[in-house]
Amino acid sequence: MPTHTFTLNGERVTVDVEDDVRLLWVIRDMLGITGPKYGCGINVCKACTCHINGKAFNPCSVPVGAIHESDEITTIEGLADGDDLHPMQQAWLDRDVPQCGYCQPGQIMAAVAKVRQCQREGRDLDDAAIEEIRNICRCGTYQRIREAIKAGADNM
C-alpha cells in the first residue's frame, strides 16, 4: 500500500493508504484530527476548509496522492499558537459568532485565508470580498461572521 508523508499542524505524519482516498478522510478517519468537518464531500459547503502552505483549500476534494512531502497542512487545530488564539479565533469569541459550531472551523480557516489574500492582492476587505466566501452556515449567523472577519483582520 502506498505511503504518504506530509506535515500536519507542524508535525510530520505518515499514513499507508491508497492514493485516491481524499485527504479529508485521511485526516479525520486515520489521523483522528476531527476539526475539519464533512458537509458535502464535493467542495461546495466548505465545512472542511483547511490551509495548504498557508492557502485555503478543501481536503474533501484532494486525493492524498496529490500531497507532497514538503506540503504543510493546517487544520483548525493548528491555527492557534499554543494557548494563544489566532486573532480570527479571538474575534470569533469576542462576537459570540458560533451557534452549533459545525461549520465554524471551516469559516475561520476561510476567513483567515481571505484576509491574507486581500492583503496579498492589495484589496480592501469589504463586503464584496467577504461575499466571495462560499462557506455555508445553516444556523444563519452570517452577520456575526462578517463582523468578526473585519475585526479579526484588523489584528492580522
Partner: protein, 786 residues
C-alpha cells in the same frame, strides 16, 4: 408518587373567562427535594404545575374576533402539561471539588440552551457561569415526554424547576457554612463558590459539598431569588462552548472515537423511500480497498470501511435492483393537485361584503442541517449502545429496541451535541439505521448520511397551500378565514403523544395530532371579525418534519400579504392599518419599534421597497420591517453556481419574548430565523420529479449564503415585564417571512402566488445522477486554493 404542590397551596387567581388573564402574584415558595447522597444533591419536579398553574398569556379584553385557542392555551402549555402526570425529578449535584453539575434532559444543536442553563444555575447559586458544568442527559425513559426538545419549549419548561433545585442547593450550602463558621446564615454571602461571613472567615463549596449532603430524601421549601436581584439572567453571555468550537475541539457524533465503530454509509434508492430488492455484485464490493462489510439493510445496502471515503467508493460501485419508493412517479404538480383537492371550503360565502380572495403555494423545503444525519451504534446480543444528536431520545430508545429486538431497558442512548437541527433531529432516522446496521454486520458502526442522502431522502418541510378570504365593509373587516392545506407533517413520534395528551385539554379544542399543533400555535393577531383557521392534511408518505416551526412561516406569509391587500383596499398605510387592527398594546409595541428604528415610510427608489410582518407565538410577539432591492442590476448579478435574485438589504426585527435569559443568545436565534426566512421566501426549495427530490447539494438547494444575507440587520429586544421566558428557537422566521413577501410584492408591483419565488425558474445547476446515489468527490481541490 406524592402530588407536589405549592407550599402552602394557594387558591387559583381569579381569571377572566377565556382570556388567561391573572392577577400579579407575590414572591412564592416552592418545593424542592434533598436527595440522600454522599455529597449535596438537590432536585426539583420537572414540571411547572406548581409554579404556573394558569395559562399566562396576559392578554385582556373581549375582542370582536373572540379568543382563539393559542391566546389562552398554546403549544408551550401543551408541552408542559403533557409532562404533568409522568414528570420525574431533575437534579443538581455539588461535587467534592466545589463544582456544580447538571445533566440537562434536552438536546442542544446550537440554540445555546447549555449556556442559558448554566446562567440560570449560576444566578441562583452566586457562581460564575463557567463554574457550572452542564451536560446533555442520556435518554431517561422515566421522564416520559419530558425529554423532548421542540416547539421552542426548552427555556419555558425548564426555567423554574432548575431554579428551584439551584436555590435549594444554595440554601443548604449556606446552612452548612453557617454551622461551620458559627455565624448567622442571614449574614453570609455566597459568591464564586465561596461563602463568606460578615465577621470574617470563609468556606468554599468544596468544603461544604459533603457537609450539606442529606442522609435521607426529603421535601424542603425554598424561595427563589427575586428578579430585581438578578446579576446574570438578562445580561449578554457568550456561548460557553465557543472556545472549543473555534479551536476544533467540540465533538459531534462522527467525531467520537468509539472502538471499532468504523465509517458506514448506506447505498440508497433512486426513489424517495425506495427499498433494496437484489444486489448484483455484493462480493465484488466486499473485496474493494478498505471495505470490511457490505450487508443489505431495510433502507438500502450498508457499506462499512476504514474511511468514509472508501465506504462512499463502495456505495458508488454497488449495482442494486430497487423496489419503488413511496411516491413513485409523483412530481410537484401531481402532489399539489392532491393538496388542492383537500382544501376545506370557506364558511362565509363570497359577496357578504367586499370580498378579497388570496391563494398561495409553498413548495417542499429541506430541513437538512450542516451535520448530516449520523449516529454510532454498538449492538450486542444482550444490549445496545447508541450515540447521536437526538431531540427525542426516549422515543429513539424505544424504536431502537424494537429494531434490534431488545427490551428498551437494554438500550442506552447517549445524546451528543448536534450540528444544527431546526426540527429534523426530533426524528432519529440515523440512530435506528445505525443500530440495524450494527446488528446485521455484527460490529460497531459509525453511520453517516452523505449530503446527497440528507437532501434527497432526508426529512422535508411539507408542501402546503394557504387560502384566505376576507370580507370588508368600509373600514371594517367582517370576516377573515384561512384554510391551510398541507402534505401531512409527521408529528408522531416526534410530538404526537405529548401533544395529543395536552391538546385535548385545551379550553377551546378537541383536536388531535397535527391539527392540534396548528390550533395550538396559529392565531390571527388582528381584529378581523369572524375569524376561522383550519388545517387539513393529505398523507402521501413523505418524510416530513417541522423546520423551525411547521405552519407559522407559511401561514404568516399568506396572512401578511392579505393584510397589505385589505389595507390597500381601504386606502390605508400598511403600518397604520396593522397598528389599528392588532389586538393588544404588546403587539403594537414591537410594530412601533420596527417602524421607528427601521424608518417606515422613508422614500425608496423605484424597484426597491419596504414591507412589514407581524407574528405572535411562544408567549411572545415579533415584528419585522424589511427593505428589498428588486432592481435588474441587483436581481441579475452573477455568482458562480448560485442564486442571487432580489436582495434583502436591511432587516429591522423586534421581539418581546417575555423574560430574557441571555439576550446575546436570543439575538443569535433571531438572526438565524431571519436568514432562514430569506431562504424560504426567495431562494430555497426542493423539487419533486419522478418520485425523487432533485437537489443533492448545497449548490442545488440554495440556503442563504453571504451574498444573499442582508448587509444591515438590526435586532431589537423589547423590554418585557413578563416573569417567565417564552420560546425563541423558531421565532425569527414568521414575521420576517411576511415582511419579505410584502416588501417584494410592493417592489415588483405583483403579489407572488408561490414560494420561494424562484421555484419555477430554470435550474442553475446540472442535477446530480440518481445512480450511483452519491456524487464522486472531485480531485481538483488544489486548483481552487486562495
Amino acid at each position: 408518587m406524592a402530588n407536589h404542590r405549592f407550599a402552602p397551596p394557594r387558591t387559583k387567581e381569579p381569571k377572566e373567562p377565556g382570556t388567561g388573564l391573572r392577577a400579579p402574584v407575590g414572591r412564592r415558595k416552592f418545593l424542592g427535594y434533598l436527595i440522600a447522597a454522599p455529597t449535596l444533591v438537590v432536585a426539583a419536579e420537572f414540571t411547572r404545575q406548581q409554579i404556573f398553574d394558569a395559562p399566562s398569556t396576559a392578554w385582556a379584553a373581549a375582542t370582536p374576533s373572540g379568543p382563539q385557542t393559542p391566546e389562552v392555551y398554546d403549544l408551550l402549555d401543551a408541552l408542559r402539561d403533557a409532562g404533568r402526570p409522568t414528570a420525574n425529578l431533575i437534579r443538581i449535584e455539588v461535587n467534592k471539588d466545589g463544582t456544580v453539575s447538571f445533566a440537562l434532559p434536552r438536546s442542544d444543536n446550537g440554540q445555546g440552551i447549555i449556556t442559558s442553563t448554566q446562567m440560570i444555575i449560576a444566578e441562583e447559586m452566586g457562581l460564575e457561569v463557567d463554574q457550572v458544568k452542564v451536560t446533555l442527559a442520556d435518554a431517561r425513559p422515566e421522564l416520559m415526554f419530558n425529554q423532548l426538545t421542540g416547539g421552542s419549549s426548552t427555556t419555558f419548561t425548564t426555567y423554574t424547576p432548575i431554579r428551584v433545585a439551584a436555590a435549594l442547593a444554595q440554601m443548604r450550602l449556606l446552612d452548612a457554612a453557617s454551622q461551620l463558621l458559627q455565624q448567622d446564615v442571614r449574614t453570609l454571602t455566597s459568591r464564586g463558590g465561596l461563602i463568606t461571613g460578615a465577621t470574617g472567615g470563609s468556606v468554599p463549596f468544596s468544603a461544604l459539598a459533603e457537609k450539606a449532603a442529606s442522609a435521607v430524601d426529603q421535601q424542603v421549601e425554598v424561595a427563589l431569588k427575586p428578579r430585581e436581584d438578578f446579576a446574570i439572567i438578562g445580561k449578554p453571555q457568550n456561548k460557553t462552548d465557543a472556545r472549543d468550537i473555534v479551536t476544533g475541539r467540540k465533538c459531534f457524533a462522527t467525531d467520537l472515537q468509539i472502538p471499532d465503530a468504523l465509517p458506514t454509509v448506506i447505498c440508497r434508492a433512486p426513489d424517495l423511500n425506495g427499498t433494496p430488492d437484489d444486489v448484483e455484485n455484493i462480493d465484488e464490493v466486499r473485496g474493494m480497498p478498505g471495505i470490511t462489510d457490505v450487508e443489505v439493510v431495510s433502507t438500502g445496502v450498508a457499506v462499512r470501511a476504514k474511511t468514509f471515503g472508501q465506504a462512499i467508493d463502495g456505495v458508488r460501485a454497488l449495482r442494486v435492483q430497487w423496489n419503488d419508493g413511496t411516491v413513485h412517479g409523483e412530481d410537484d404538480e401531481s402532489v399539489l393537485a392532491k393538496v388542492r383537492a383537500a382544501e376545506l371550503p370557506m364558511a362565509v360565502p363570497a359577496g357578504v361584503g367586499e370580498t378579497i380572495d388570496c391563494a398561495f403555494t409553498f413548495y417542499f423545503a429541506s430541513s437538512s442541517s450542516l451535520e448530516t444525519n449520523s449516529a454510532i451504534a454498538d449492538v450486542r446480543a444482550d444490549r445496545a449502545e447508541v450515540w447521536g444528536a437526538m431531540k427525542n431520545p426516549i422515543a429513539a430508545s424505544g424504536d431502537i429496541a424494537k429494531a434490534v429486538g431488545l427490551p428498551q431497558s437494554a438500550v442506552t442512548v447517549h445524546v451528543t451535541e448536534g450540528g444544527g437541527s431546526f426540527g429534523r433531529k426530533l426524528f432519529y432516522d440515523a440512530a435506528v439505521e445505525a443500530a440495524e446496521c450494527s446488528k446485521v454486520i455484527g460490529k460497531p458502526v459509525k453511520l453517516m448520511w452523505t449530503r446527497a442522502d440528507d437532501s434527497r431522502q432526508g426529512r422535508v418541510h411539507p408542501m402546503a397551500t394557504s387560502r384566505i378570504r376576507a370580507q370588508i365593509s368600509g373600514d371594517t373587516v367582517l370576516s377573515y378565514e384561512q384554510r391551510h392545506t398541507s402534505v401531512a407533517t409527521q408529528v408522531n413520534p416526534g410530538f404526537g403523544d405529548a401533544i395529543s395528551t395536552g391538546a385535548v385539554k385545551a379550553p377551546l379544542g378537541n383536536l388531535t395530532l397535527s391539527e392540534s399543533i396548528f390550533e395550538l400555535t396559529q392565531v390571527t393577531p388582528y381584529d378581523f371579525g369572524v375569524s376561522t383557521r383550519f388545517l387539513n392534511e393529505v398523507d402521501m408518505r413523505f418524510n416530513t418534519t417541522s423546520m423551525r416551526n411547521i405552519y407559522s412561516p407559511n401561514v404568516a406569509t399568506a396572512r401578511e400579504l392579505m393584510v397589505d391587500q385589505i389595507a390597500a383596499k381601504m386606502g390605508k398605510d400598511p403600518y397604520e392599518f396593522r397598528r389599528a387592527f392588532l389586538k393588544h398594546d404588546r403587539m403594537r409595541g414591537v410594530l412601533d419599534a420596527v417602524a421607528k428604528e427601521g424608518r417606515w415610510g422613508r422614500s425608496m427608489k423605484k424597484g426597491t421597497a419596504q414591507g412589514l410582518g407581524f407574528h405572535t407565538e411562544y408567549k411572545g410577539v415579533s415584528a419585522a420591517l424589511v427593505e428589498i432591492d428588486c432592481r435588474p442590476d441587483t436581481v441579475n448579478r452573477k455568482i458562480r453556481e448560485a442564486v442571487t435574485g432580489p436582495r434583502v438589504t436591511k432587516v429591522t426585527f423586534a421581539v418581546d419574548i417575555g423574560l430574557v435569559i441571555n439576550p446575546r443568545g436570543l439575538e443569535a436565534q433571531m438572526m438565524g430565523g431571519i436568514n432562514d426566512a430569506l431562504a424560504l421566501i426567495l431562494t430555497s426549495s426542493l423539487h419533486l420529479t419522478d418520485g425523487h427530490f432533485v437537489e443533492a447539494s448545497w449548490d442545488n438547494y440554495f440556503y442563504t449564503r453571504q451574498w444573499n444575507t442582508p448587509p444591515e440587520m438590526n435586532i431589537i429586544i423589547v423590554d418585557s415585564d413578563a416573569d417567565e421566558p417564552g420560546g425563541a428557537g423558531e421565532f425569527g422566521l414568521a414575521a420576517t417571512c411576511g415582511a419579505i413577501a410584502t416588501a417584494y410584492a410592493r417592489a415588483v408591483g405583483k403579489v407572488p402566488e408561490y414560494f420561494p419565488i424562484n421555484h419555477k425558474d430554470p435550474f442553475p445547476f446540472e442535477p446530480k445522477p440518481l445512480v450511483p446515489p452519491i456524487p464522486e468527490s472531485p480531485t481538483d481541490g488544489l486548483r481552487h486554493t486562495y
